[in-house]
């Protein structure tokens, strides 16, 4: 199980990466491993707005179903449509090709509440 350096993490196991003016959001390696083989993905519509902590999507694995929670209040500007046909990308490459959505954040100061890679790794160890 890996925690990628340079990303921010939520305690709900989402990661956030700054990419120019946007934020890319996905789920951590821990999350995908807990779920096991992901077989279906539900993602929001482009333009949808979410408050911090809202559920913005659903990951369905063979064994279980899990909501994904947005780590910052934001508007969705892009979704990873490839996942509809290849949901296994989340298992295979959670920090890369398995990204979920790109958003415009309302208030970047919310990012300060998130965990660094190191803090997230500690959080996982304590859990």
């Amino acid at each position: 199980m890996s925690v990628k350096e340079g990303l921010l993490y939520s305690e709900d196991h989402e990661w956030v990466k700054k990419e120019d003016d946007l934020l890319v959001i996905g789920v951590s390696d821990f999350a995908q491993e807990e779920l096991g083989d992901i077989v279906f993905v539900e993602l929001p519509e482009i333009g949808e707005e979410f408050e911090i902590g809202d559920s913005f999507g659903v990951l369905e694995s063979v064994k279980a179903v899990s909501d994904t929670f947005i780590p910052v209040s934001a508007k969705v500007v892009e979704i990873n449509e490839v996942l509809f046909d290849q949901p296994e990308l989340i298992n295979d490459d959670p920090y890369g090709e398995g990204w979920l959505i790109k958003v415009e954040a309302e208030d970047l100061s919310e990012l300060e509440e998130l965990l660094s890679a190191e803090e997230y790794a500690e959080f996982l160890e304590e859990a």
């Binding site: 096991g36 083989d37 077989v39 279906f40 539900e42 369905e60 063979v62 064994k63 179903v65 509809f84 298992n91």
Partner: protein, 357 residues
């Protein structure tokens, strides 16, 4: 939690472990889909040592057995395996099990892990004369080697002619130089064998089979794949699809109830149930589009609830959600369209005949 003799091996292999019927068991190793496909296309090895083994002995053993089970014990020659149910007086299913006739006065009953104690107590209460029941679960290790290549793998480890063992037959013999029961049975719908032997040899047998299977790309396979494999074939799972509130006819298991074999527990009630078993019956459906429906989800036609799912998962072969459950009999017609409420939304589904694949 109870542990099988292979507990350490599973953990070393990186298995995700879970509590199943009071046992710490492997759910998955390389991933449920990968393991599922291995069993369908090549072969997989399951540790199912959590299954309960009850030994019924004595000159009145067969008589006791006839009273306890719904199928006909007289169909059991030596070397035959019998699938059967045990019912209560109301015709409710206490358990589903397989029975081996080891000797004239000795029967091995293999029951669901979570029911082992309940079954033991029930059987003990209904023994006839000198018959005795003994819980041998701790003594036996049980492995299931399943998949189209399973025979080739096992052939490397035994002198027995495996081709002579037909479906639902067994032989006693040696595998990897150890005595065991080699049973051509399983819960996957593939060619396969279930092996029962002294738990002391479990690690050796596991390693020898994995080694012999290497050239066939054998996979260690967990309870996750066991569940998706059995669901694709429409096999009921006790606790999900059958329980004490469900009778055999309702569950489409009437074929293992032999009303003419003589008296047995539940017979009177089952006789009456045969012609009018129930309001709701077991059915199967395939989810249209994306989504997985699961146990407990309600089934709808228009705005009306017509029943509920008892099992539901993802079919790695169909790449769709599949499910079984109980709905009003009028709606059970292949091609019928139904809806299943999954969390906040409705999934469209089509009623199908079993098996799914």
């Amino acid at each position: 939690m109870k542990k099988t003799p292979l507990n350490e091996i599973h953990k070393e292999a990186g298995a995700k472990m879970t509590d199943f019927g009071g046992w710490e068991m492997p759910v998955e190793y390389s991933g449920i889909i990968d393991e599922h496909l291995a069993v369908r296309k090549k072969c997989g090895l399951f540790d199912v040592s959590h299954m309960g083994e009850l030994l019924l002995t004595g000159s009145r053993a067969e008589k006791s057995l006839q009273k306890i089970i719904t199928n006909d014990a007289q169909r059991l020659d030596k070397n035959k395996v019998l699938y059967t149910l045990m019912c209560n007086e109301n015709g409710g299913i206490i358990d589903d099990l397989v029975v081996y006739k080891l000797q004239k006065d000795s029967f091995l009953l293999v029951v669901n892990a979570s029911n082992t104690e309940k079954d033991f107590n029930w059987i003990k209460k209904h023994l006839d004369g000198d018959a005795q029941i003994e819980n041998m679960t701790e003594h036996y290790a049980m492995l299931a080697l399943q998949g189209p290549d399973s025979q080739k793998v096992l052939t490397k480890l035994t002198d027995l002619n495996l081709q002579e063992i037909n479906y639902y037959n067994y032989k006693e013999g040696k595998v990897a130089a150890k005595d065991m029961i080699i049973s051509r049975t399983g819960y996957t719908g593939e060619l396969g064998y279930e092996l029962y032997f002294n738990g002391e040899y479990a690690e050796k047998i596991w390693h020898d089979i994995m080694k012999a299977g290497k050239e066939f790309d054998i996979h260690p396979t967990g309870l996750g794949a066991r569940d998706t494999l059995r669901l694709e074939k429409g096999y009921p799972l006790y606790g999900n699809d059958i329980n004490e509130k469900i009778n055999p006819y309702q569950a489409s298991l009437g074929w293992v109830v032999k009303l003419d074999k003589g008296d047995f527990i539940g017979r009177e009630k089952l006789k009456a149930l045969k012609n009018s078993c129930c309001d709701k019956q077991r059915f199967a459906c395939v989810i249209q589009g994306r989504g997985v429906a699961r146990k407990g989800h309600k089934v709808y036609v228009e705005d009306q609830v017509i029943g509920e799912l008892s099992s539901g998962s993802y079919s790695p072969l169909l790449k769709k959600g599949i499910a079984m459950g109980y709905i009003k009999s009028d709606y059970i017609k292949p091609g019928n369209e139904i809806k299943i409420k999954v969390r906040k939304r409705f999934l469209e589904a089509e009623v199908v005949e079993l098996p799914f694949v």
